[in-house]
Every structure is written in structure tokens, then in C-alpha cells.
Symmetry: C2
Subunit: 595 residues, 2 copies
């Protein structure tokens, strides 16, 4: 196993160039954000990730979780690590100060979360749930609920869960059956079964705040009849301390391919008279609130993509630098590490290029998120909010698919040693396999992108974004180091524009063809956004190289990396665009009885 | 878990159209091959696969193998299944009759092996080793060795292994250290450690025939100093029966991501005075013989790709037909299975298109193999031998990569149920992960393709194959049903030709760039060969549809499937071609100290 090295240089370079840390630090409520503070936070997080979380990752995978007599046991070391994590204030890093958080911008917390996911995703899913739930509660909960629950969630004293899925209601929440019956005292009693609940039960915190979608007796059918409830594991006494056990129990945990350290629970509500719950927000409006939590979680899962990919890349690079095998194809020298082989170099660069593309996109999106929240000009704030909304399915869908590809490539660099479990890289591959699934599969993201984010507004924000991307082209053309990328970049944008036009201009009769194109279109948009962000990064590198304000060898490597991305991945955009336009036709014609 | 359905219709259609079963049945030594015989063999195999092998696949994965006091225990049911398999004569199906095999063409045995791999790859690896070893022994072993060992290998009475890898010698066999010391009686004593030996030890057969690469005391350095030895687990008595235990022991088995039912052994030779071995063929010429075994195994691993992909496809299709979720996007109807969603249809068709492309390519290559062996015209036989040699790395490299992609897509169709182990699809994904690695990684295949198969002869066979592919273009142009594919097909061939020219025409100074392009070139050639074979299949389907000699709905579905392949996968060829020509440049310029 290779020690984790927090990629601080890459992170800092992106933060201070394309992701706009300086601009965000100048916004209202962000005045405390200084370069020094950010450096200190990232360095501390890097130490914590490498020193506390990374050492537990493989042992957590091997031990997994156990359910015994209703009690879920997490792996050894989880409790001590969580206590340290909570006490250090990491849970509330980017949560509001008024509820006890540190109020840092999302741009600063995103690289920190990347480090948690790089070193121990199964563990980090626990506090990630607190962050997602806090986003929802701070918007929808009552003042009293905030005081009672939100502050404990922000501090990490109590843990959080997110209860949507039921056996018959996965992607289709309209099929939700869990019932909530109003009581005379204003509370509710819940009855039903929820499945696939991450950290649905454990002993790591003295209480767990379940956020549960359920249906009131008089609720309309479908998603417009879902209400949201806080259902604590322990009911609170008069002082607000956990006391009586509520009627919610873990009746099974899943045996999964990966994330063994994270218990995936089946929760049964109301087997003994009803689980007491508290309505959050308005009745029948629960889905909108749950989607705040979901959207936050989706972004986080995208960050899992880059986090896993970064660590897998580090593994592969270390192995390629130390494993001696074969002769250097060029010099004929023997006794060389396999990094001398051009095909291994290709694999390593492919990994690094995609890691940097994902990271650049996610950090830039995190910056947009901050601009949307804090920019004093409502027009500008609204523009960034629309960008974030548009690209959320890309941040989730594309970064998780690419994250899986990078983990796959890492195994390949290890050869046979990648397939055996002892080296640790196999775990990254297995763990990564969940991220294209949970919080909405890639197909669900793609449908969201096409349906809600593009067609609902005839592509308005998409075209706005394309226009913004176009501004990078002349910058490339005028850069001596990057001028040869101007034309390929223009081609990418033309491919994207053509495919977007096709999507937007189909009439209702072509709806199936459009939906058949959703996933290829998501890949197209992700690939082009990745190229755009790397182009911006390379431009910044060229500038800093020219004025010697950053290590010139590093800057040069970013320029080469960007070219490599264009030649290895950017070139796929036209294929995706062609698939978008063409593949639906034969799909519609195909007789699935013959499948 | 869904029952396995042998895809007999697809298999038969390919055999009787593009793969040329009739032509092969007319060759010398193939006279016994009739359509009826082939049908009977495939049907019996399908029953055996579904009835005997499939039910053990998941339990074998769960139980795995155990090493206890030097004895390897395989999963429950393995012994009974192997006894049946051997007694039914499946081991020697395509091995020569003179050694006790049934002598059927490779074209007939290939679909049979596909079924074994579809239903239980971990099990089928055992007899697969017999077949690979038999190919080597029948060419290189002495008459006496053939009588003693080969006949038992062909019958399956004894098992086989293939011993190449050592800790310091993986892809680089020049680093092999195992020593063989000549004895006065003409035998040898072997000393050394071999790792990653599939079925290196077990109790399923009364003896195991290890085929071992080792170095004689006076051997030259490198691969030209490797000799090949038969080292049996038990030495034979005067009647040729296994008696004394030889000095080879299993000292460890690997803990792997998949193929848990197949023990991957570390074998130690000579800890107690030397393992007795018998030289096969000439001294220092062992690698060439081992490569006969290796090449046979590589083709078999390609067949594993389509076998796993077919079963994963069946899983996904069955799940998509039965899992109810969401509304039909077009009709708005609820209560529909998820196969109504265009994105799920896209996933299903993507899987089926690639399965059929791989199957068409592998069966066609199997037919070429038979033509190479049996065609009376030595010029024609030689042409097909060269085709087989050229495409062996594609059959192995491309079909295993695509096989993994299809298994990955199947998980995605299952959503969260794909990540939990109970549904069984996760096992296919885990098992498949080894096939791009063993018998030479995809990178090794790609280097073999570029170096030995193309550059060594300035692309002669490659250009010959491209010229043959070009003959399919006018056929497409003249087919009413397929005329719209003529131009895309021409574009594919142009992309392939341009990339091939680039590869062949680089001078020595560009060697690193060429090797950096090896894997993208392998993908390019695989993608184009897949398109070519599907185009041929669609042409055959159009003909049979026109003359009503086969189910017209099925024929139509093959035409649509081919179009879908062109639009979803064929379009990627130009991206691969661009990567071939461009990506090496930035790779060469990249400073890996900055990685």
C-alpha cells in the first residue's frame, strides 16, 4: 500500500487560477477567507486524511459491518476516527456559522472532501450525510427544528440519514408507500420499510436523525403527495437529550461489492405502533426539500469520483515507478520501472488528464455555487445558480463514470497484482462501482439533464454556457503555447452546439429518440466541459510560466497534459455528438421481442 | 438469479452465414461435420451449461477455494461437475482424434466454450488449460510423451497447468529464474517459484501435468535461454499410474476480486531436493512452445469476453423486462417494466450489439483457424493463418475490454441491485476484471499487435485484411436495407487505413510515439473488425429475410442492431484514429517527474 499524498499543488493551482478563489474571498460573508487560511485548512485536511482515514480504508473493507441483534457494528477504528473528525470541526466546515459551522465557501470545502473520499470513502459517507441533510434542514426546517436538530447535525454530534428508496420505489419515488399518520399532539406516526439506507444504523453517535419521505393519509398520488419527516433514532427528553428508543429498526444490511465499511441498511418503521416523526416544511412538499439534500449529495458523489480517481492514479503511478519489468523500448536498457514503457505512460497520463479535468470542473462548479450564494448582483448570482443547476447532472454523472474508468485503468497498470486484494487497488475499483448508481444512476442524471435542465427552458442556460465557453477560443488562439488547440476546441464546441440544437429542435414525436440520446449527450457535455476547464487551466499555466510566478516545469506539464486530453478524450466528442443524432433511430425501429 | 438460455439461434445464424460452417465441413478431415451434428453438440452443451455449470457459479464464488495443509479445496459441486464434464467428452471436443479427442473444428468448439464461460468461467478455466496444453504438446512433445501425458490431458483424466509467471517475471519472461538441472537419467530437477498458477493444485484429478518454463545451467540469458518441462504432480509408476508425490507444492493461494472458484496458486518447485521434470522439445526453445499454449489460451480468453458479456446481457435484459419502475416516457403509462425507458433500451442494445460483434469476430476467426489447418491449398491456408496471427491480440485484447464494458453496463441496468451480491450480476463484473489481464494485458496485446504483427512485416497482412474488408462496402451499397451504411463503413476503413499508414511509416525516432498509440490502435482495429463482421451479418440477414429462409423479424433485428452499432460504436473509430496519430506527441513531451 502506498501512502496518500494530498495533491495540494494541483488543488491550490486550480483554486487560485480558474476556480476564482480570490473573487470569492472578496464576496460578502466570505471576508475571512484568505490564501493563508485556505492553505492551512488544506494542509490540515491532508494530514488528517493521510494520517487518520487512509490507514483504516483497507481494514475497514476487510472487516466490513455486522448486524447483530439489531445493532450495527462498524469496522474497528471507525469510532475513534469519527470522534477526531467531529472534534476537529470538519463536519461543519462549509455549513453556516449561525448553526455552529465554520461557514467556509464550498470552493474550499470541495478539495477537503476530495481528500476524505480519496482516503476512505466508506467512512466519509457518514459525515457527508450530515452536510447534505444540513443543507435541506436550513432551508426547510422550522426555527425550533433547527435549534433542536440542525445544530447537532452541523456539529456532527448526531448523524444523519436520507430515506427515499423502498423495494418498489427506487428511481421512481412516485411509488413511495411509507405512511405518516398525524397524531393529536402535532407529531406523526410512520409505518413502512426503507432500503439502501447508508449508515441507517450504527453506534458511532448518540443519536441518528433520519430524514424520511412518507405519505400522509389524504395525500395526492405520485410525487406531489410526499411529505418529509424527521424521525430520530432516539426520542429526546425535556432537556433535548436522546432518551427513549423510537420505533425504527435495522432489520438487514446488504452484502455489497464495495464500500464494505459503510453499512447499507434496511430500516423498518413502525413495527411496534409507529415511529414518531416531525413534519419538515409543508405537507406534500417533501420531495422538493429532499431534493435539496439530494442535489448536495449528488455534487458530493461527483467529488467521490475525482477523489477515488486521484488515489487510484497515485497507486498506479507509484507502482509504475517501482515495478521493474522488461526493457526500455527506446534505449533497450533493462532493470527499468514499467513507467518507461510508452503504453504505461499513456495509461498514467490518461488517468492524470481525466483527474485534472474532473477536478477543474468540480472546483469551478463549487466556485459558481459560492457566487450564486454570495454575489451581491442578483443577475450574476442567478446566472451562476443556473450554471450549477445545469451542470449538476454532469458533475455527478460524468465525474462518476470517468472516476470508474480511472480506477479501472489503475488496475490495468498493476496487471495481475491489481486483481488480487492485497495491493489495495482492487478496493478502489469495487468501491467506485457504486458512485454511478446511488443518488441517481447515470441514466437518471442524463434524463434530468435533457428533460429538466435543457428542454424545459429550450436550452437557454446551455446556450449561455456554450457562449461563455466560446470566449476561451480566442484566448487559446492568441497563446503561443496553446494556439494549436484553438481549432480543436472550436470543433468541440461545434459538436456540442450541433448536438444541442438537435436535442432542442426535435418535436414531441421524437421524444424517444431524444431520451435515447440522453446518456451520450451527458458524456458529450462532460467531455467538452472537461476540455474547456483544462484549456482554461493551461492558459493560466502559460501565463504563470511566462511571468515565472509558478514552477515552470509544472506549468509546462499542465500544458502538455491538456494537449494529451484533447488528443485522447476531446476527440471522442464528435463520436458522442454523432451518436446523439443517429442512435435513436435504430433503437426506435428495434423490436425488443428479438433482443 | 435468471436461468441461462444458450443463445443457440444467434450462434447458429453466425455459424451458417458469415463464419462459413459449410465451407469448413467440406474440408479434408472435417467430413464428419454436418449441420445436424453441430446442432446436437450445441444443444447438448447448452443443456450441460444451464443444468450443471450455471447452478454452481454463485455458490462457487461465495465458497471460493481453501488451502489447508498443502491441499487445495475447490468449491462444493466442482468434483461432480468435472466428472460429468470429462465423462461426456467435452475436454477433447476439438482435440485430435489420434490422441482421443473428437476432432471437431474450432468453429464448432468456440460456441461451446462460450457457453462454459457464460455459465461458470471459474470452473471452465480448468478444462481450458487442458485444451491449451494439448495444443502445445501435440506439436512439441515426443511420441512417448504424447502417449504418456497428452492422451490423459485430452481425455481430461489428468489436469493441466501453465507455469510462466514468477514474482520478478510477469510480462517480462526474460527475467525467469526457475532452474532445471540435468540428471544422469535424462530427467531434470527443477527449483524455483511460480506464481499466479490457475488450478496449480487441487484434488479434482488424480494427477496434474505442470508445463513449466525454466532455465538450464548453461542457458543463454533472456528469453532465448528458456526450456520447457513437464513436471507432474505425481510421478508415474511402471504402469504409467500416478504414484510418488513429486517435489512441487502449493504454498499459497491468492485472495482475488473474482473467479473465486478457480484457485490461483503459488507453486514451489524443488524445496526437497528437486522436482523431477521432463524436457519438452529442444533445450532453450521452450518459449516458442509455451507460446503455442499461450496463443490458444489467449483466444480462449477472448471467448471468455463474449461468454461473460452474453450472460451479463441476459441478466440485464431479464431484469429490464421484469423490474417495474416509473412511467413510460412516451405513453405516460405506469406499471411498465424499465425496458420501456429509452435509456434502458439504449443500454440493452449497446450490450447486444457488442456481444454480437465480438461473437461474429471470434467465430469468424475460429473458422479462419480451421481453414488455416485444413485447407488443401497452401496459399489460402497460409493467408488464413496470417489473419489469425494478426487478429489474435484483437480477439484477446478487444473482446476482453468490451466484455468488461458489457458487464459494467449490466450492473448499471440493475441499479442498486447490481451493487449488492445477491442478484449475481456483480460476480460477472468481478470475474470479468481478470480477462484483460491474464495471458497478457491489453497493453501487451497491443504491443504484440504493433510490433510483431504489423511492423515486422510493414503491415502486409493488415493491408491484405483491409483490402478484404473493402469488398464488403459495395455489397452494402447494393443492399436496399443497408445502403445507408456503405458510406459510414467506407469512413471506418479510411480511418483504419490512415492510422495504419501512420503506424507503418514512422521512422525509428518515432518509436515511442508508435508504442504510445498501440492500445488506441488495438481499439480502432477491434471496433472496425466488429463493424465489418456485423455488416457481413446484416447482409446475410437481409438476404435471408428477402428469400424468407429465416425468421424475418429476427433478420430485421440484426439489421437494426448493426445500424445501432455503427451509430454508437463505429463512430468512435475516427476518435481512436486521431488519438493514434496525435497523442504520442504530448506524451513524449511530458515530464513524468511532474506526474
Amino acid at each position: 500500500m502506498y501512502a496518500y499524498q494530498a495533491p495540494l499543488r494541483d488543488m491550490q493551482f486550480i483554486l487560485h487560477t480558474i476556480a476564482g478563489l480570490e473573487e470569492i474571498a472578496s464576496l460578502p460573508n466570505c471576508e475571512d477567507v484568505s490564501a493563508e487560511l485556505v492553505s492551512a485548512v488544506l494542509e490540515e485536511a491532508g494530514k488528517f486524511a493521510a494520517g487518520v482515514l487512509a490507514p483504516l480504508n483497507q481494514s475497514g473493507d476487510r472487516q466490513g459491518c455486522r448486524l447483530e441483534q439489531g445493532v450495527v457494528h462498524t469496522p474497528e477504528g471507525w469510532q475513534a476516527a469519527y470522534d477526531q473528525f467531529r472534534d476537529a470541526g470538519w463536519v461543519g466546515l462549509a455549513l453556516p456559522q449561525e448553526y455552529g459551522g465554520q461557514g467556509l465557501p464550498k470552493l474550499v470545502s470541495t478539495p477537503v472532501w476530495e481528500m476524505w473520499f480519496s482516503t476512505n470513502m466508506a467512512f466519509a459517507m457518514l459525515p457527508q450525510l450530515n452536510v447534505s441533510q444540513a443543507e435541506a434542514l436550513q432551508i426547510a426546517a422550522s426555527l425550533e427544528q433547527k435549534q433542536t436538530w440542525l445544530t447537532k447535525v452541523v456539529s456532527g454530534e448526531w448523524a444523519s440519514t436520507m430515506n427515499l428508496t423502498e423495494p418498489q420505489a427506487g428511481s421512481d419515488l412516485a411509488a413511495t408507500r411509507t405512511r405518516a399518520v398525524p397524531e393529536a399532539d402535532g407529531t406523526y406516526k410512520l409505518f413502512g420499510q426503507k432500503i439502501f439506507i447508508s449508515y441507517g444504523e450504527h453506534e458511532l453517535t448518540p443519536n441518528i436523525v433520519h430524514l424520511v419521505l412518507a405519505r400522509l393519509p389524504d395525500a395526492p398520488a405520485g410525487v406531489k403527495g410526499l411529505s418529509l419527516f424527521i424521525v430520530p433514532k432516539y426520542l429526546l427528553d425535556a432537556e433535548g437529550k436522546p432518551s427513549t428508543r423510537n420505533d425504527v429498526r435495522c432489520i438487514a444490511i446488504e452484502h455489497k461489492m464495495g464500500i464494505h465499511g459503510s453499512p447499507t441498511c434496511t430500516l423498518s418503521y413502525g413495527d411496534e405502533g409507529g415511529a414518531i416523526g416531525y413534519l419538515v416544511g409543508e405537507a406534500n412538499r417533501g420531495l422538493a426539500t429532499m431534493f435539496i439534500m439530494m442535489n448536495e449529495a449528488r455534487f458530493g458523489v461527483g467529488v467521490q469520483g475525482v477523489g477515488l480517481a486521484e488515489r487510484a492514479y497515485q497507486y498506479a503511478l507509484n507502482y509504475a515507478r517501482t515495478r521493474v519489468q522488461g526493457r526500455d523500448a527506446i534505449t533497450g536498457e533493462s532493470g527499468q520501472p514499467i513507467l518507461c514503457h510508452p503504453d504505461v505512460q499513456r495509461a498514467i497520463l490518461s488517468m492524470r488528464a481525466r483527474v485534472m479535468a474532473m477536478r477543474s470542473l468540480l472546483y469551478t462548479a463549487a466556485g459558481w455555487f459560492d457566487l450564486a450564494h454570495h454575489h451581491p448582483d442578483p443577475v450574476i448570482a442567478d446566472q451562476y445558480r443556473r450554471y450549477v443547476d445545469l451542470l449538476m447532472p454532469v458533475a455527478k454523472g460524468w465525474c462518476t463514470e470517468v472516476g470508474n474508468e480511472v480506477c479501472d485503468d489503475a488496475i490495468q497498470v498493476f496487471g495481475g497484482m491489481g486483481f488480487v486484494e492485497e495491493t489495495g487497488i482492487a478496493q478502489y475499483f469495487r468501491d467506485a462501482r457504486i458512485i454511478t448508481i446511488y443518488e441517481g444512476t447515470t441514466g437518471i442524471q442524463a434524463n434530468d439533464l435533457i428533460g429538466r435542465k435543457i428542454l424545459r427552458e429550450q436550452g437557454a442556460t446551455l446556450y449561455e454556457l456554450i457562449a461563455e465557453m466560446q470566449q476561451t477560443e480566442p484566448a487559446l488562439a492568441h497563446s503561443a503555447a496553446l494556439t494549436q488547440l484553438a481549432l480543436p476546441f472550436k470543433t468541440l464546441l461545434t459538436d456540442l452546439k450541433t448536438a444541442s440544437d438537435w436535442i432542442v429542435n426535435q418535436d414531441q414525436a421524437q421524444q424517444a429518440q431524444v431520451l435515447a440520446a440522453a446518456t451520450p449527450f451527458l458524456y458529450l457535455l462532460g467531455t467538452v466541459c472537461g476540455a474547456w476547464q483544462l484549456a482554461r487551466l493551461a492558459l493560466a499555466a502559460a501565463t504563470k510560466q511566462a511571468d515565472s510566478s509558478f514552477d515552470p516545469a509544472y506549468c509546462q506539464s499542465l500544458i502538455e497534459l491538456t494537449q494529451f486530453y484533447f488528443h485522447s478524450f476531446g476527440v471522442q466528442a464528435s463520436a458522442y455528438a454523432a451518436t446523439v443524432r443517429q442512435a435513436g433511430e435504430s433503437l426506435i425501429a428495434f423490436d425488443f421481442a428479438q433482443a
